[in-house]
Amino acid sequence: MNVIECDVVIVGAGGAGLRAAIEVAENQPDIKLALISKVYPMRSHTVAAEGGAAGVAKDEDNYDNHFNDTVSGGDWLCDQDAVEYFVHQAPRELTQMEHWGCPWSRQEDGKVAVRPFGGMKVERTWYAADKTGFHMLHTLFQTSLKYPGIERYDEYYSTELICQDGKCHGLTALDMRTGQMKFFKAKAVIICTGGAGRIFPFTTNGAIKTGDGMAMAYRAGVALKDMEFVQYHPTGLPGTGILITEGSRGEGGVLVNKDGYRYLQDYNLGPADPWPRKKAMELGPRDRLSQAFWHEQKKGNTVETDFGDAVHLDLRHLGEAKITERLPMVRELAMSYMSVDPVKEPIPVRPVVHYTMGGIDTDINTATNIRGLYAAGECACVSINGANRLGSNSLTELLVFGAKAGQKAAEYIAENNNDAIDNENLMAQAQTAIDRVMNLFKHKGKENLVSIRNEMNTIMEAGAGIYRDEQSLKQAIDQMTDLKKRFADIELVDKSNVYNTDLIQALELGSMIDVARAMAVSALNRKESRGSHQRLDYVERDDKDFLKHTLAYYQGDENPTLDYRDVVITKSKPAERVYGGKADE
């Protein structure tokens, strides 16, 4: 067996993974670090984040404001101790990025500029034009090149965690270029593999976002937490799902229906001021805006396009100069992919799956219930996002908790150096994991992975979309159980060892099916409406029974079992989420 010995393995080299790697390499250069990713780091999906990263910057803002916006935005499902830590670390991490060269947009006086974002009382979104994630990712990647201790394994697909006596000892991974399986034997593992938006048909997420790390931890016995909470971004392009940043609304863009009417005022988000009022109208939270679309569609107020119903995002009143300066990427995307110049025409948009609030269950220190196993970024649920993530918190989250994961993993291996390990057992486990991939590779079956993937997309959109009810969810769960069985009988067409993307897509689909089932089962059991989880049959929030995190545990072919854990409340008692003019009172 091909064994690579190291101290810490980080899976995923996007924002969280790179930040974790730099944290370890900067403070503990002696630690042998392997940074594994199925893509080269700069391809990671952090690259696509546009709008910005939240952190208190202005004199008139404070940590309490950021805390309150986050907690109420998350419909009180956030753990408040984690949010407290997060809001305090946020400006420090964003300042660290500035020292590393991130080209933050600036005010005239040379200070870092901030812009307003949805659900935010005072503007605190740091931005680099409308390519913030791109600039953060490249800054982190370039900075990582400073540290020889960061050994990268680019285009390695991780398949299985290897654990013993409740401790994690590494993982198996496929070298995509050679088809060779390797065992990365390690003392600690940090998972930073991002979300799982590809489970759904319309998504802003890139092809790589298939929930691999979530599935890996889940199968090893870590709970997936709050998986029923899937965020729809209200403004994606129909068809491709390409994201049109919330920054476009922060700059003053408005949403109108087929009659040119700013319909959000009909959904408790008014008054419809001509200027952008914070926490109101187009700057309301993402869940409310996406839900308003659904109602407009039911009323027949949406615009028909070749790719289904849409509403209009109108930027024309901002003028060409402002659009070009502040929102160059928005203009380019709309012109290229919709043949619409936002200077002259409104952009058709619709809600598209954007973010998984749920993820690998971690504590405030990014630790899981398996010792030596940590998770950070979108794949994890720490949880600061609760039932609905506040726009521009995720880029900051991957810095704050990526760094934390690096610190904690380094501390852990310093304290756990002399454990007795049954090496033979580890090797046997690794061999089993390797055989599992080889069996999938060789299996003769009658199912086709493309049709299973398409069916999964359709099932999840229909049964577990913006609005759900018992019937739609039960149907989705049954259909997904059936798909899982059929998936076991797929046959790969490509038999090559070299860069076999048929095999990689099969492994990805296996991950998505397991994660999707956790989403649907968690959603069925949450008999209330909260944040992004909206039930047509339970329309109210129910704090008596459901001020709790859902924990889903993997049971193989069977549906997951569920458990619940109380939300950590420190200083903000659950209250009504108030947006629109009333938010100022």
């Binding site: 020292h99 090149l145 090559s496």
Partner: protein, 261 residues
Amino acid sequence: MSKSQKIRKVSFEVLRYDPDQDSEPYFQTYEVPCQDEWVILDAINYIKDELDRSLSYRWSCHMAVCGSCGLMINGEPKLSCHAFIRDMPDHIRVEPMDNFPIIRDLVVEMDGFVEKLADVKPYIHPKEERSIDDGCHTQSPEQLLDFQSLTQCINCMLCYSACPQVALNKDFIGPAAMALAHRYNLDSRDQGREVRKDVIASNKAIWECTFVGACSEVCPKHVDPAAAIQQAKIAATGDYFKSFLMPWTKKNKGNSEGEKS
């Protein structure tokens, strides 16, 4: 906004190569019913999903920012997610990017490229020690503009595919890496120009560039590496003559005035 959907049959001639089975690359043709809004990547995804599971290629974001999907399309280096079929004829030839070894089908070897990026030490060499508590640097919008366009590089490598010098000389560090070095040299927070000079002014960097300008022409993000290289040449020439005239200035100079000329 509703338009009638137009479907056009386009034939794609795609380069295939699997080193496990093929002694040399060959072309395979696929007929694809293309929608009017499609980009080349959509057609390749159609081939993979509907016609041939064994085709290998890279892609992710489908919005021209992750830089994964560069290909030769009818002989020109382009991002396949940003190359619109409506602008092309009924017969399209798709090949892996020029000037890189092929791993398989449309997938090329890119470790060499990443090493060249690392060679120019593309990170801030701070002018002074600064702690987080000291806060952010002051950088005016004008100072940001000095290097902003050079930060737009998505590492798609199309410029390496277009560059005649890369084709001739494997060691040439190439347009994107030189533009990246220049990006940091021009950043008001940085003083790393001296440490980058060893690579930039060496015989495998700026002096190899013959200013054909193909790199800037194919850049999907308008980075203009050719202009960056010319500016770096001028700066390096200044350094060279200054080292005779004013030998005491040789060490520890950050953004010298010669840089911005």
